[in-house]
Symmetry: C2
Subunit: 239 residues, 2 copies
DNA sequence: CGAGCCTATTTCCTATAGGATGTTGCTTTG
DNA sequence: CAAAGCAACATCCTATAGGAAATAGGCTCG
């Protein structure tokens, strides 16, 4: 796949000046799209052959991904992709999101410039073309849209630290979300628009509340996925 | 220094099974103790010679440290240690700490077991032997004590995600704190004991408030350090 | 005397090879 | 037939070498 492009020199000019960064993005995509399934072993040599690079940059990218929490490293056994969220981890994630993103939304409503308020409204109005692509692609696009919206608000809030923390949380959820497609895209859009409206009005409290309501609702929408799970860690659970 | 120990085989048996992890801790210590000053260039080859290992594990460790925010990587120019916090970044840091650690303290007061409440009280009572060591060592010990206390509370709160986020923030502050020793160790101890008392009493609201008061006071204590700063990026002044 | 250009050095980045360790499958024994 | 021990395999981990890019210093030109 990608290696042909590399050999033909198409991928090279577009790379980020350092091969390791490019490899990092490639592997991240592989994990996010579940081409590398959760809980699976990650073979460094196989990856380097697949991407047509030496193991060294792959190793460097894997180290960064471990810090991101997308892969784990067992000392003398190699890397594995992180298993799916357990119910407890899922609850924890949303509690922290409620805290962080609630505060972030409040800040965004207070700090946003006129131009930024406009941008948020536009983004909230954006919707997925329901007829475009198959179910998987449409769901992936919807997921990406949601992530973009939340990141935009975090950016406007003006706290780099908050934004980083939120981004970090999102990658965990993203991993889970793609695995169990959930319905509720129209609801999500409606909730996003409520948030955007509160920001446009400059009402911090209302925006924080709208964000919390959105997250609570999203949490409820995801919950049924756990009933489909035979065991909370089933793929590979040595511990 | 460390290389002699390595050659004599003293460091080898104690290592974490993977050399890269050991190197990671070594470099982290070098950065924290300002043996590698903030804003300085980090030479990979020099580091590998210093630690008596090959550049590969050094590179891997650096990648992880970059994700931690302790070093930055400029695409074709190598790694540099992160510069000291600017005033804006400092304010941002404490705002996020207020949010995260306030909520964490509240949770800790609600969730802690009897044994954990006892452990926290003991930790809060622990004090630095003022006569032990020189000013630098004493300050480093005090800093470590403070970090331990905060991490203990985060652990008791029972949210792995919150704990990780807080730990991440602390490493940034630690970097800054060691550079500008501040007074107020007795005050810190008093405030810690108030927090411990609220946890012992199981009063969530009071504990959250005590933690926020502690952080606000700590922020005030650190503030004068910025007056000593000639320029936001000037690494070494009166050595 | 200053600015721009060129060259040389240093440094980073990537690739390949060898040693050590964990894992897996098979055989053997109780 | 099951469990334990052994051996072969695959994989990771570390070390070394070579190529490419950027930075710094010196020189020439205006």
């Amino acid at each position: 796949m990608a290696q042909q492009e590399a050999r033909e020199g198409r991928l090279r000019p577009a790379r980020r000046l350092t091969l390791a960064d490019d490899v990092y993005e490639s592997i991240k995509t592989l994990v996010m799209d579940h081409i590398l399934p959760p809980g699976e072993r990650v073979n460094i040599d196989a990856l380097s052959r697949e991407l047509d690079v030496s193991p060294t940059p792959v190793r460097e990218a894997l180290a960064r991904l471990e810090a991101d929490g997308l892969v784990r490293k067992r000392p003398l056994s190699g890397y594995t992709t992180t298993p799916l969220l357990t119910r407890a981890e899922f609850d924890d994630l949303f509690e922290v999101r409620l805290l962080l993103e609630g505060a972030t939304a409040g800040r965004a409503a207070a700090h946003a410039s006129t131009e930024e308020r406009q941008r948020i409204s536009t983004e909230a109005a954006a919707t997925i073309d329901v007829e475009a692509g198959d179910g998987y692609r449409r769901h992936a696009a919807f997921t990406a849209l949601d992530a973009t919206f939340h990141d935009l608000i975090a950016e406007v809030a003006g706290s780099p630290l908050l934004r980083d923390s939120i981004t970090r949380l999102h990658s965990h959820l993203h991993l889970h979300r793609l695995y169990f497609p959930v319905t509720g895209a129209p609801d999500t859009n409606t909730e996003h628009q409520r948030i955007a409206a509160a920001i446009a009005a400059g009402d911090s409290d209302a925006d924080a509340e709208a964000m919390r309501a959105h997250l609570t609702a999203a949490r409820e929408r995801h919950l049924p996925a756990f009933d489909q799970l035979p065991a909370p860690g089933a793929p590979r659970d040595p511990a």
